[in-house]
């Protein structure tokens, strides 16, 4: 039992550079493994969400069919490789559709709010609120080195380079071909900025079936990282920005309602935290407008004067319901069946 060693490190860093190199190397490998794994998983998620939309939306049976159909065509040997290409094609087609097809596809994809006519249950715990920027609602799709924004009717607004993943042909972009994004935005003319109000796909990963809570979390953590929120530059034509999102408690409501924002407000949007991204009108997104938070509550003439009479255009819907032709429509009556029969 000899004297026990007690020498401690003296004037030395705690870890050697060699150990540091090993660790950095391991970190890189772990990151690369995560990326490879993530990419493999995305191959599935994209087939899942985009492909059916391309053929025939809202028929889940087709998903399975179209997916299994792919396989027999491929030679076993190079299957791994070829399958990637097939998937890329599928994904890109959706974002590359042109003319009528594109219009139809995109017109079906946006999630649209209903009017807020009563207070939903658990508003303070289950809902977010934010001030909606005034401007053109559009989908922004970045893929294969370019970015395209499409309005609600599907027509193209801008085609431009952006710092979004796969949004420009820069040497810096390390994203692979299957990386693409779809963002739900409002283009705000005065500051030429795309305000992102929802994230549908990000870097090849579909968020369609994720909760609002997760999509907003993802949106806020990912968008800034790419540099998309930076000032415009040669490879980044328009600035993107997030909007401040609040919990629907008193404080949050007050902030959204009266708080200053860098854009012109057009009402408040309320989003249910548990909702998935869903095409068309949904009661899980609600819009509120009054004169304090929107300039488009009542009609004005070309001089900005409020006319004596407000006009309203009514539509008789196919099922006998009577609605305003507002966006979104407000249903305020229904013809009784007997009357419809008679007509």
């Amino acid at each position: 039992m000899a004297t026990h060693e007690l020498r401690r490190p003296f004037k030395r860093p705690a870890i050697s550079d060699q150990q540091r190199r090993r660790e950095i190397s391991l970190q890189r490998q772990a990151q690369n493994r995560r990326d490879a794994q993530h990419q493999a998983r995305c191959l599935a998620s994209t087939i899942l969400t985009l492909q059916p939309a391309q053929y025939e939306p809202a028929e889940p049976d087709l998903q399975l069919q179209s997916e299994t159909e792919l396989i027999p065509e491929l030679e076993i040997e190079s299957q791994e490789h070829r399958r990637d290409l097939r998937d890329i094609d599928d994904v890109r087609q959706a974002s590359r559709l042109k003319g009528v097809e594109a219009r139809q596809w995109f017109a079906k994809q946006l999630m649209l709010p209903e009017w807020m006519i009563d207070v939903p249950e658990r508003l303070n715990t289950d809902w977010y609120v934010f001030a909606r920027p005034a401007g053109k609602r559009c989908f922004v799709v970045s893929s294969n080195g370019t970015t395209i924004s499409r309005l609600r009717n599907g027509s193209m607004l801008h085609r431009f380079p952006s710092a979004l993943p796969s949004g420009a042909r820069t040497s810096k972009s390390s994203h692979s071909g299957q990386s693409y994004c779809i963002l739900d935005c409002i283009f705000h003319e005065p500051d030429q900025t795309y305000y992102v109000i929802d994230m549908v796909c990000w870097a090849g990963m579909s968020l369609y079936e994720c909760t609002t809570e997760f999509r907003f979390f993802w949106l806020n953590s990912k968008l800034v990282e790419t540099g998309a929120c930076d000032a415009p530059s040669s490879y980044h034509k328009f600035r993107f920005s997030t909007v401040p999102i609040y919990n629907c408690d008193q404080e949050g409501l007050n902030a959204a309602y009266t708080g200053p924002v860098p854009y012109v407000k057009d009402g408040l949007l309320f989003c249910n935290k548990h909702a998935h991204y869903q095409s068309g009108n949904t009661p899980l997104i609600l819009v509120w407008k009054d004169e304090n938070c929107s300039q488009y509550v009542i009609d004005t003439d070309s001089k900005g004067q409020v006319p004596n009479k407000q006009q309203v255009v009514l539509e008789l819907l196919f099922d006998g319901k009577l609605a305003t032709s507002d966006d979104p429509p407000v249903i305020f009556g229904c013809l009784n069946e007997d009357f419809i029969q008679e007509v």
Binding site: M1, K11, D17, R22, A40, A44, Q63, E80, E209, W218
Partner: protein, 869 residues
């Protein structure tokens, strides 16, 4: 057989005689092991035999019972256990008998062998009478036997794990030991053996330390022993105090005042080895408090095992002056002597730990000492003041330190240039490094380095790199931390304008004649690496030029022929440094697409050089070169395929390297890199690689830390070659399955084991992920179906165990998704039955960790599809 003569011949000066004797012994052992061991024990026990043969007999016996290498040790243990009981009984009797020998060396040797036998037999519940028989007549025996008995108990406590000795025996051992230590014990040899035995017995004394009376008694005896007239006893007693300070920190309160007085006196008056232990006591108390404070953030909550008693904070006003005094006791040549450890070094180190423990409070206590001494004519005073300053830079808040550092920085830079003493310059350069390490970086509110003073700092450091080796090495270290502070700043780094100048100066250092001293060359290359890591796009061209320089240097190391072993070692070391540097450059340039294409023109040359470095050795592969290859494969991507045919043999060699497990682990990582780079093109090599990996896993010689990365590597391979992994399933799956069973439950083990278990789980899960994703959308997915129940069960059981870390959680929930994704509706009902698909998934969905959440969202998506169709 008469072994005496053979044993003596085995120690002969004449190599031929020695060799012959060794062969004879070996032969005897191989032919008749029981007879051999009996002869040895008889030799050791026999008072008529010469001490030389008795000692060697004991040593060979000891080596027949234990080995350093785990696998060999296991074999020896099994061999002893399978020996005939009568033979073992006879050997043990001889050993016990030797404890009464009049020859000290024979007794001491026997003590050690008895402890080895005990370490094998006690866990098997054999030799139950050992402790009883050792202690039965300890009060009646002559002092030399008492001494040997206590020494045996000491060795026994060192060798045996506490839980195989029952409390009754522990009590008896402690009683005997503490009585032997008592001041009444007239024989110093007995008292010393007892004190040393207590050191080892402390870890057995949990129960006794929980009893106030017993603990008081033990502490009193230990403290008294620190006052013994015999220095060896005092030293052993202080060693006990150090061990008590960390093992029984929570019991120290009643004694801390006395211990403080004892250690204070010892530091001031004692012989150096004893004084060093006295300082070490406070260093270990700091270690304990730092751990507690780090773990619980200073708040004592219901979860914390041990509260922080703030002993250091309380002792501060008296402890700090005592430590500052030690700083003035430097040795002239301590900076050149790598093995040096003296009062000043220990005192400064302890001061640094105290600063980390108490933070801001230390600053006002040390500043007057610095101010008083820093300008004194005696180098000792200036050096002590600087060392004190450097020591307290970690711990106190930047708010507290920054104003002081702003004033001191200029003084330090002047001292590093002009001070006549190398000692002072050495410590000054080190202190600058500490300033940059702890107070410079993007997270600091007020930067201490501005574009204005940056140039001066760099000029002084580069100048100082021409100083004597130990000073130059510290200057390199300071530059390392200066660069590191700019790591996150990118193009706004003020260092970049000086990039070329810095690189040139560092290269000059590596070429110094005396760069082999004070690890100067290593420090210069390490700093070069850090400067490259922190470089920006603008300097990418300069980094590319550096590639050529490093390649030329590496080329030079390959020219020498017929090297002596000394030269070979130097070549090896230099190649390591150069490959390390290449690795850093490749990784840096590989991360930027523009720079990558520029440097890929050297791809062939780099690879050829690395292959030649591998070829320098016949049996092993160079770890640093392997690390560089990994970075290179990642940067090269699919083009790496052209190098693989030639590189493959070194890859295989690396995978076969059980002994240097780091090399094996690094090579396993490189296999993953190559899989991702080549994807399907790696297929022709997979038979060889998989064979080797499977061999590694079944080997009990391989260090356990390599096993988790091997499992992950299965996943990498499967993901790369897809359904071609089919032919390995029948080998890989059972291994994964049995490892999964082992790692499912960790109950009742220590933190280290839980950490390892989680690493293992992560590796297994990554393998499953890769396999599922690799097979996805192929006609062979049904081959995986039979494994699904077990995998789901594995996920459920690690979820229930509640001890997985975040990484495992993320990987595990991902596997659930992969399984659902690949097996689809076939596995729908299986998935729905699992706990994982409900509680575990929900827990992950509501996790704060976004990686877990991301995997969970994905799993939810895949599951909803699998169960909906």
């Amino acid at each position: 057989m008469e072994v005496t003569q053979v044993l003596l011949s085995a120690q002969a000066v004449d190599a031929t005689v020695r060799k012959h004797a060794e062969d004879t012994l070996k032969q005897f052992q191989d032919q008749n092991l029981p007879g051999f061991l009996l002869s040895l024990s008889g030799e050791l026990a026999s008072e008529e035999k010469p001490i030389e043969s008795r000692k060697l007999a004991g040593l060979i016996l000891k080596n027949a019972l234990d080995a350093k290498e785990q696998h060999r040790k296991y074999e020896l243990v099994q061999r002893w256990l399978s020996l005939d009981v009568a033979v073992k009984g006879q050997i043990k009797a001889c050993l016990l008998q030797t404890l009464s020998s009049s020859v000290p060396d024979a007794r001491s040797t026997a003590s050690q062998v008895i402890a080895k036998v005990a370490s094998i037999e006690l866990p098997q519940k054999q030799w139950p009478e050992l402790i009883g028989s050792l202690l039965s007549n300890i009060h009646q025996v002559p002092p030399h036997v008492k001494q040997a008995t206590l020494e045996t108990l000491g060795y026994l406590c060192e060798e045996v794990v506490p839980d195989v000795v029952d409390q009754d025996h522990v009590n008896k051992i402690l009683t005997a030991v503490v009585q032997g230590m008592n001041a009444n014990e007239g024989n110093n040899e007995v008292r010393l053996a007892a004190t040393r035995a207590l050191y080892n017995a402390l870890s057995f004394a949990q129960a006794n330390f929980s009893n106030d009376m017993e603990r008081d008694y033990i502490m009193r005896v230990v403290c008294e022993a620190t006052l013994s007239p015999e220095v060896k006893i005092r030293l052993a007693a202080f060693e006990c105090l150090v061990s008590i300070g960390s093992t029984y920190y929570e019991k120290l309160t009643p004694y801390i005042q006395d211990i403080f007085n004892i250690t204070l006196k010892a530091v001031r008056e004692e012989e150096e080895p004893v004084a060093l232990q006295a300082i070490e006591f406070w260093s270990s108390v700091c270690d304990e408090e730092i751990d507690i404070l780090e773990e619980y953030g200073g708040e004592f909550t219901a979860d914390s095992d041990v509260p922080c008693y703030h002993f250091i904070k309380q002792a501060l006003p008296a402890l700090v002056p005592m430590l500052l005094e030690t700083l003035l006791k430097q040795e002239e040549d301590q900076d050149q002597d790598d093995g040096a450890w003296n009062l000043a070094m220990a005192g400064g180190t302890c001061l640094g730990l105290v600063a980390r423990t108490v933070g801001d409070d230390i600053v006002p206590l040390v500043m007057p000492f610095i101010e008083e001494n820093i300008t004194k004519p005696d180098w000792r005073q200036r050096e002590a003041a600087t060392y004190a300053f450097g020591s307290i830079l970690e711990g106190p808040s930047p708010d507290k330190l920054t104003p002081i550092v702003n004033v001191a920085l200029n003084f330090m830079l002047t001292a590093l240039t002009n001070d006549p003493s190398s000692h002072v310059k050495d410590t000054t350069a080190w202190t600058l490094g500490r300033i940059f390490e702890f107070l410079h970086g993007s997270t600091m509110e007020t930067p201490i380095i501005t574009p204005e003073n940056c140039q001066q700092i760099i000029t002084v450091l580069l100048q100082s790199m021409k100083d004597v080796p130990n000073v130059a090495e510290k200057a390199c270290g300071a530059l390392y931390f200066l660069a590191q502070g700019y790591e996150d700043l990118g193009s706004s780094s003020s260092l970049m304008p000086y990039f070329q100048e810095i690189v040139q100066s560092l290269l000059n250092v590596t070429h110094r004649e005396d760069a082999g001293e004070s690890r100067l060359r290593t420090a210069a290359y390490e700093t070069l690496n850090e400067v490259v890591r922190c470089s920006t796009e603008e300097t990418a061209r300069l980094v590319s030029e550096l590639v050529q320089v490093i390649m030329a240097e590496l080329h030079k190391t390959l020219e020498g022929q017929k090297l002596s072993s000394d030269e070979r070692e130097k070549q090896n070391e230099l190649q390591g440094l150069l490959c390390g540097c290449l690795q850093v450059i490749i990784q840096k340039l590989g991360a930027s697409n523009t720079a990558k294409y520029a440097f890929m023109q050297y791809g062939d040359q780099i690879m050829n050089l690395l292959l030649r470095v591998f070829a320098c050795r016949s049996a092993t592969v160079h770890e640093e070169a392997m690390l560089a290859i990994g970075a290179f494969a990642y940067a090269t991507g699919p083009n790496f395929a052209i190098f693989l045919p030639e590189f493959y043999k070194y890859l295989e060699m690396g995978l076969q390297n059980f002994e240097e497990y780091q090399v094996c682990a690094v090579t396993v990582g490189v296999v993953g890199d190559i899989c991702r780079a080549l994807e399907g093109k790696i297929l022709p090599y997979c038979d060889g690689i998989m064979t080797q990996l499977l061999k590694d896993l079944s080997s009990n010689q391989l260090h356990r830390s390599v096993k988790p990365p091997i499992f992950s590597c299965f996943g990498d391979i499967a993901l790369a070659i897809g359904e071609n992994f089919e032919k390995y399933l029948m080998y890989a799956m059972p291994m994964l399955q049995s490892a999964a069973e082992l790692s499912a439950h960790t109950s009742g083990v220590d933190d280290e084991m839980i950490e390892y278990t989680n690493l293992l789980r992560n590796g297994i899960l990554e393998a499953y992920s890769g396999i599922f994703q690799g097979f996805k959308n192929t006609p062979k997915t049904q081959l995986l179906f039979p494994y699904a129940p077990h995998i789901l069960q594995f996920l459920d059981s690690i979820y229930m165990e509640k001890d997985m870390d975040d990484v495992v959680m993320k990987t595990a929930i991902g596997v659930l998704g992969d399984l659902a994704d690949t097996l689809g509706s076939n596995a729908g009902s299986l998935i729905q039955q699992s706990v994982s698909s409900k509680d575990f998934l929900n827990e992950c969905l509501s996790s704060d960790d976004h990686l877990i959440k991301e995997s969970a969202e994905w799993a939810r998506l895949a599951i909803s599809r699998a169960i909906s169709v």
